[in-house]
Assembly symmetry: D2
Homo-oligomer: 212 residues x 4
């Protein structure tokens, strides 16, 4: 399975999604090897790199991670929208406003990950998690939408989705009043999310069922 994160952006020195990818890269989860990759925060460069990774590895599961500063929980994103509307500049200094991720593509895709099952599993393990109906309109949503479009058009058997994680404590320590989550908690949560997503795929493969 392919696990992606992002490099730091917005003046931060660290990005929790990058740290999670570094921690899980090369691990084996439910007999699947995790291929980790850290993407640039670049409206121009990120999607081609993602496409390249997917073409090269042709994974059955892709989980893309990103930082959502200000959120308290691990967010399982349910809907990718065909919209880029950047509140701040990316790491190349570009700040596109109200343009589509993929011109001519549908307005949105629902994730085909079992978002609610993953949330339930994480909560059972004592990890704060919630489903989310908006991944925003920055590079995170761009990657989420591009991934969903890629899977829909070229890898219909695969599953993919996007998970937002809170700030790390050391980031929140510089922003009074803001929530955070320890890296260890995030890694445990993402590990469990991958397990859960793979288990659903196993079930479907075994039963010959198809996904909704």
């Amino acid at each position: 399975m392919l696990l992606t994160g992002f490099e730091p952006f917005g003046g931060e020195a660290v990005n929790p999604s990058q740290e999670i990818v570094r921690a899980l890269d090369g691990a084996t989860i439910a007999a699947h090897r995790v291929v980790g990759s850290v993407l640039p925060v670049s409206f121009a460069a990120t999607v081609p790199m993602l496409e390249d990774l997917v073409e090269r590895h042709r994974p059955m599961l892709v989980l893309a991670l990103g930082q959502a500063g200000g959120r308290s929980e691990i967010s399982l994103e349910r809907i990718a929208v065909n919209l880029v509307d950047a509140r701040i500049a990316d790491n190349d200094g570009l700040q596109p406003i109200d343009v589509p991720v993929v011109a001519g593509a549908p307005a949105a895709y629902f994730t085909n990950l079992p978002a609610k099952a993953i949330v339930a599993e994480l909560r059972t393990r004592g990890i704060p998690a919630a489903p989310s109906l908006s991944a925003g309109s920055f590079v995170c949503n761009q990657v989420f939408f591009a991934l969903a479009h890629l899977l829909a058009t070229r890898l219909p058997e695969a599953r993919g989705g996007f998970v937002h994680v809170p700030w790390l404590p050391q980031q929140a320590a510089r922003q009074p009043g803001q929530p955070s989550m320890a890296l260890a908690t995030m890694i445990e949560g993402i590990h469990a999310a991958i397990e859960c997503a793979l288990a659903v795929q196993e079930d479907l493969a075994t039963s010959g069922g198809t996904t909704h």
Copy 2:
């Protein structure tokens, strides 16, 4: 030094302040042994037990810890008020409304802990922390006020204060949208707070200075 926490309350199965006390009880910090004690959440029983602990150990530093569900950071409380106004019942089923902690005592005490120095130290270490101007009006503030009154009237050389900690992740996992903090982060933070408070006392003792 004396470190106190509370047992769980409000229907919770765990209290982070109890877990921190268990983790640090018996430790040696800056050549001082930590004596940990878990207090009941009881308007009737808690203060006598605290007084007993202080009389028995006559500590130079007392740090009382409590849970503040909904807060994102470790809160260094600056002011204890002579007010009990319980929003929910304590573990004995009592819910006193608008009564003083100690009849005839002053309206409030400022902590003599170096609250801002501790906040600065925690933030430097990447641990979210903030000074707070209200410890509420439940058992936490009751203990904080009773401690401040006890030190002012009987142990003027000692220092004492109160620190509120957020929910643990497993508590927030049952309350969607709420912030939390990992136990390891809290333990590191309270350890650093004790070090910082002891260092200030050492400085004063060495220089023969007195506290403000």
Copy 3:
């Protein structure tokens, strides 16, 4: 133009969207008469009633309003999603989980209202407003999606959108800590939003331009 609101739900005695519709029903804004209608909070009955209203009046502009308890601002919704996932039961006692609004329809529609221009206009007038990327997955989003689908498939010349409004002060007075907005502020805001939407349509009609 057609302006819809909702009856109260979730045990409330009032719904601000209903009050706004009552206040503006019959008004003339920029030479257009406002036809106001209050919809039931019913997954079964609301959409047929909306379709009936649109068929009967064939409006050039439809603005649907709904209550978003807990939000501080007037929210201009940008994206309607083809998902019903009810957190609470509707007024008929039904609580559908993870079903489409319209089976076989696209995953989402972007509004063709000038959402950001309306937000800018409201802020200039001193009315708190913000664009929003999620209208939720309750009856509000159901109506928003059904409206967008209806306009796209049967009235492509018309414009339509959805606006969420905060609780009224009398609702927030029963929910400590929650934000609210005065009815007069909301009415002024929705009046301005209608003006702004109609002005854009006039411009387009005059110039022969088409909408994005």
Copy 4:
């Protein structure tokens, strides 16, 4: 009765407390005339001006108002603390850190206004209100403490307190995501608070009772 507010500060063009004072100045509430006065936001000048007003009018009731940006409700402050710790500079450019309001005075005063009765009355009228245990440590708390000290030492028969009000809509319109309250709602709320406070004093005067 004396009603005070503040001029704008922190770069704002307006202060809701000033607007409320202007609206109620000269009004008669329960046979008492309202004397309104707008205070500067100045650690040096505000307290002498307040003392002067109290000496000149010798009011039986003093209600001081201030702006608490970010709060959603009218806050009835219960405790004034003898601490100035300014987060931003006042309108003279001064930003005192950790100094007492009145050297040698007690650490705090509880208000002798019926704060909870006022909150209950406001909520009954549909106006969001809550008691508060912290008025902060800026000019608002300075005035609150100075007032409480003045009444305690020179006018023990009088009552006084402090009420924080939210931002006005036009202020929140410039700060996305922030709550606000309409001026009309605030004026109605402060009018009701004054009525409620005067009624309690009448009761006490009639019965010969003394205040807690």
